[in-house]
Symmetry: C2
Subunit: 161 residues, 2 copies
DNA sequence: TTAGATTAGTCTCACATGCAACTATATACG
DNA sequence: CGTATATAGTTGCATGTGAGACTAATCTAA
């Protein structure tokens, strides 16, 4: 008679933890700036990489479905938080970058989010935190979620759903 | 100039990892039995606790929104995988339990899911696995996701979306 | 007994998102 | 060249789900 205790089942626990963490963070950008998760991911990508990059790059970088990114980009354009630059060499794609307002939002938001992350992880001792980083990296690798920057893996469309 | 690397940001990594793990597991019940995540959670709860229990109990136990559980229960009833017993003492609630078919599904499914979990965690050394359990428990506790069985915490409605 | 509060469960609404078809452009190769 | 294939990005469609109103039943306390 095999049994399974949900509360000890890692997939369930990861789901629940991830949702709880998202909720804990979302107030910082949702309540404060009216930004949803996919939009946050676009901003995070553009803010971190100084150079403009395409929506396709954001898709790869964030492991988010391209239709979701497309809608997030549209929304951010409407909000004036990013700008779109035509690429004369390849007119299918556009280079995206943060606008002045987008950069200001980024600068205001990042410290808050890092603080939240710190708060959540403050439950861990320093050694545990290092272990956690190692463990996450190993599981990510075994699930093929890590991609060399120049040889991006096959696109994956996992969403926080 | 503060910056944030998404790929090193724990909330993002947890989201992505949790989604990838869900995807890796869902084939076992989705493809195989046409069961969705909320239905799986109901089945897991009923199968683990031998005694019948109410939808409200499942809500608390799985940290899932009551409307989601309600729909999952309806769907499982239609599929004949669970049964609903009226409670003459309190006619608002119903006791739920796995049907014969539901128990068979449970018995067939559990070993597969445990195998999948093992595969995913096989990237970790035994010591790391123990560390991981400890770390998860600590973060869960700090986010108030653990509930004493007789003093359930305030209901939380985190969903995998 | 009764009025107000509480609880279990259902249902409607709004909305986010994956999928897949689609458009427009670019590339590869005969 | 020109045709076939691949790619960037958008959009329509279907669906899953959280919020919260709602119903019915129970509990509490005057």
């Amino acid at each position: 008679m095999t049994k399974l205790d949900l509360l000890k089942f890692v997939p369930f626990r990861m789901n629940r933890l991830s949702a709880a963490i998202s909720t804990a963070l979302s107030s910082e950008y949702r309540d404060r700036y009216g930004i949803e998760v996919p939009e946050w991911r676009v901003i995070a990508t553009l803010g971190f990489r100084e150079e403009p990059c395409t929506a396709q790059f954001v898709v790869q970088h964030t492991s988010t479905h391209k239709s979701t990114i497309s809608r997030a980009v549209t929304s951010l354009l409407e909000k004036g938080l990013i700008e779109r630059i035509e690429n004369p060499v390849d007119r299918r794609e556009y280079a995206l970058q943060l606008s002045r307002d987008g950069k200001a939002l980024y600068q205001g938001l990042i410290p808050r989010l890092l603080n939240r992350e710190r708060e959540i992880l403050s439950a861990l001792a320093p050694a545990e935190l290092r272990q956690f980083e190692t463990i996450l990296a190993k599981i990510e690798k075994s699930l093929d979620l890590v991609q060399a920057d120049d040889h991006p893996a096959a696109p994956r469309d996992y969403e926080q759903a």
